[in-house]
Amino acid sequence: MKGCFQMAESEDKLKALKEELKALIVSELSIDDVSPDEIADDAPLFGDGLGLDSLDAVELVVLLQRRYGIQIKNLEEGREIFRSLDTLAKYVSDATGEK
């Protein structure tokens, strides 16, 4: 029972983190034609999905550094992390959890 409760708590946390990240993306990258709720968790952030580009990618790296103290040195690594909101939230949660 206790384990199950913990899992629900961490899922809530992850959900809250996703909301936070969506709001961050929309406001900081000045996406004015999409609201945070419209971003699907598993949709690609770049290309066909939300349509972010290379400049957004480096802007995201800076935003993660400012907000969460996470440093992504290698854009190849970033490519995996920024695939969708799911992968991004998981990476941020893992990276901040370790600290």
């Binding site: 580009d53 290379s54 400049l55 480096v58 802007e59 800076v62 550094q65």
Partner: protein, 652 residues
């Protein structure tokens, strides 16, 4: 190759060749052009593991010049570097600054020297202090071309080009057009830039700066290294050089410009703008792509740059493409790069050897390998390319002095084509539209006060829906400028996309400094490693030209002119000579050739707490289109008024 006397002079018109009679370079690879050239042949280079000129929170390699160039005077270190290169170039050309009877024009490309980026000063202002005004004075008085123009007693055109990383190349291109248009006898064409904390942090935040020494076109690349320096190229009409007994070092056979109209930082994947620029340079030269034997590439050592250039060279020149990048030896010197590399191309032609990239390991993603060992110069054409933020691309084409053709008549006796204005647009405190401007003028300033007016306009009003994603990165000034451009184009009765037959010339005194200040805010708030890369890339002076080219689908040349003295006239000279100087400079036979130009000031964007007033600038944005006259019936019909001429002494 074409033999000297028999060559059809620039497509049938009676133009003299533009020749190079002097070159000078100062950069990390040496204090004069021979030193730098021999360093590029011997394969030796001397980057520093981190900057010593300023303190940064992180260390990445840079190509620094000696500390002795530093200066607190207007123009700063960039001017000192420029003076060094100028002395050498004048010496080589057999000219002297104080007694020169020729009509001289001055065109300088730069990026750092035209930005207000004194971080300490800015921080003090933000804290509400009132620091000394010296940094502001240095900035306003530091326009490099004005300083040089005064010193040389220039009676020809004077302009500073702020086209980001293609500024130096565009300075030579402008000089070429001035000489072709008969505006002067000699042009001192130059580029100068100093290492500075602001672009150092900016390029780092863009994640394009290498942790190790730069390796252009090499699969082991880790990114670019910034450098600093200056290059000066003395351009003359062939007959002027011959008449004063100067020995031409090389011929500047053609110049070209093109815009990607694609992305503020990323090059078009197919190298659209660069291809236009190369084709325009080749056609101006009356040559073919096969005549090009060597390419001095932009070659910054970023993956995007290398792949786009390498693939384009393969497409244009086939498996036999010969290209290399001297940024391996100099680092990326930003606004100076194009002029330094032009000087090195000329020195290579003189010396008969062109440099390679030593020990380069071929990148499998590029279908042709760059030149590794230096190569002998075989008498053909040497191409030099530049690509910049905002998608501004430029190309220069140099040839052997043996090919020099001298016109039988002076070009000034050839009646120039007279550009006419066919459309106008305006935006300012009075609102959007020339009509509103006329009303405000008739009203003698009644109505909105320039002090408080907000001339931001709703983007939707422009009815350019394709811009959804570009607009989000544009400041107020860019959108205002685009609104005026859009009005001008509409009133000229032409419609987007305007394509490669149209050029954009923008004049701006302060540039998009709302983006510059936002970037500086980021540096102060988050430290050197986390300012916004978006703010950095949109802070370039040519970001407005980017917005105009992209929104209106313009893929012809794009030139941004900056400075303070007579700026609008300077830009008009650049625009006018673009249209009249070369033969069919862009577009094909029978197509409309137009040039759009305008200027914009962003004074109202200074922070409210800014304790100083900067001299009276124009707060509006003003723009016109010019269509080359006499080519189609339509341009006559659309004619509203015409210039009597262009240039600093005979503008209408």
């Amino acid at each position: 190759m074409n033999a000297g006397g028999s060559r059809d002079l620039a497509g049938g018109r009676n133009f003299s060749d533009v020749v190079v009679t002097g070159v000078g370079v100062v950069c990390a690879a040496g204090g004069n052009v021979r030193e730098v050239h021999s360093a590029t042949l011997s394969g030796s280079r001397d980057p520093k593991p981190r900057p010593t000129l300023f303190d940064a929170d992180f260390g990445k390699p840079v190509f620094e010049c000696a500390a002795r160039f530093s200066s607190g005077d207007p123009g700063g270190r960039s001017l000192k570097l420029l003076e060094g290169a100028l002395e050498e170039a004048f010496d080589r050309a057999g000219l002297s600054a104080d007694r020169c009877g020729s009509k001289i024009g001055v065109c300088v490309g730069t990026t750092v020297a035209c930005m207000l980026n004194d971080l300490d000063f800015y921080a003090a202002v933000k804290r509400g202090e009132r620091p000394g005004v010296d940094p502001l004075r240095r900035y306003v008085e530091g326009d490099l071309s004005s300083i040089l123009g005064r010193r040389l007693g220039a009676r020809g055109p004077v302009a500073t080009i702020a086209n980001a990383c293609s500024s130096g190349t565009e300075a030579l291109a402008a000089g070429f057009h001035w000489l072709r248009a008969g505006l002067c006898d000699i042009v001192v064409a130059a580029g100068a830039d100093e290492l500075n904390l602001v672009p150092y942090c900016g390029f780092n935040s863009l994640q394009v700066m290498g942790d190790s020494f730069c390796l252009p076109f090499d699969r082991r690349r880790s990114g670019l290294n910034l450098g600093e320096g200056a290059g000066v190229v003395v351009l003359e009409t062939a007959e002027h050089a011959v008449s004063r007994g100067a020995r031409p070092l090389a011929v500047l056979r053609g110049v070209g410009g093109g815009s990607d109209a694609y992305h503020i930082t990323g090059p078009h994947p197919d190298g659209l703008g660069l291809e236009s620029a190369i084709r325009m340079a080749t056609s101006t030269a009356g040559a073919a792509l096969e005549d090009i034997e060597y390419v001095n590439a932009h070659g910054t050592a970023t993956r995007d740059n290398d792949l786009v250039e390498g693939r384009l060279f393969h497409r244009l020149f086939g498996d036999g493409a010969v290209f290399a990048s001297t940024k391996y030896y100099t680092g990326h010197t930003l606004g100076a790069a194009g002029a330094i590399e032009a000087a090195l191309c000329v020195e290579g032609i003189v010396d008969g050897r062109l440099p390679g990239i030593p020990g380069v390991k071929r990148d499998p993603d590029i279908p042709v390998a760059p030149l590794a060992e230096s190569a002998e110069y075989g008498g053909g054409l040497v191409l030099s390319t530049s690509m910049a933020f905002g998608g501004s691309c430029s190309a220069l084409l140099f040839g052997s002095p043996e090919d020099m053709a001298v016109a039988s008549r002076s070009p000034r006796r050839v009646a120039p084509l007279v550009p006419v204005s066919t459309g106008t647009g305006a935006i300012g405190a009075f609102g959007l539209g020339v009509k509103r401007l006329a009303e405000a003028v008739a009203d003698a300033g009644a109505g909105a006060s320039a002090e408080t007016a907000d001339f931001s306009i709703p983007f939707e009003a422009l009815n350019l829906p394709s811009l959804k994603r570009i607009r989000r990165r544009s400041g107020k000034l860019g959108v205002a400028m685009l609104a005026a451009a859009n009005e001008a184009v509409e009133s000229a009765g032409i419609a987007a996309p305007l394509g490669s037959g149209t050029a954009v010339v923008v004049a701006t005194a302060f540039g998009a400094h709302s983006a510059t200040f936002a970037f500086l805010d980021g540096l102060l708030e988050y430290g050197h490693t986390a300012p916004s890369p978006t703010h950095f890339s949109t802070s370039v002076h040519n970001s407005m030209a980017f917005l105009i080219t992209t929104a209106l689908g313009i893929t012809g040349p794009s030139v941004t002119v900056t400075g303070f003295d007579g700026l609008f006239k300077r830009a008009r000279t650049v625009a006018g000579s673009l249209l009249s100087g070369g033969t069919r400079p862009f577009g094909g036979r029978g197509r409309d050739e137009r040039c759009f130009f305008g200027d914009g000031g962003d004074l109202a964007r200074f922070p409210r707490r800014w304790p100083y007033r900067l001299g009276g600038g124009r707060r509006g944005v003003y723009s016109r289109t010019i269509r080359r006259w006499g080519r189609t019936g339509r341009s006559r019909r659309n004619r509203r008024w015409r210039f009597r001429g262009y240039g600093p002494h005979h503008v209408s």
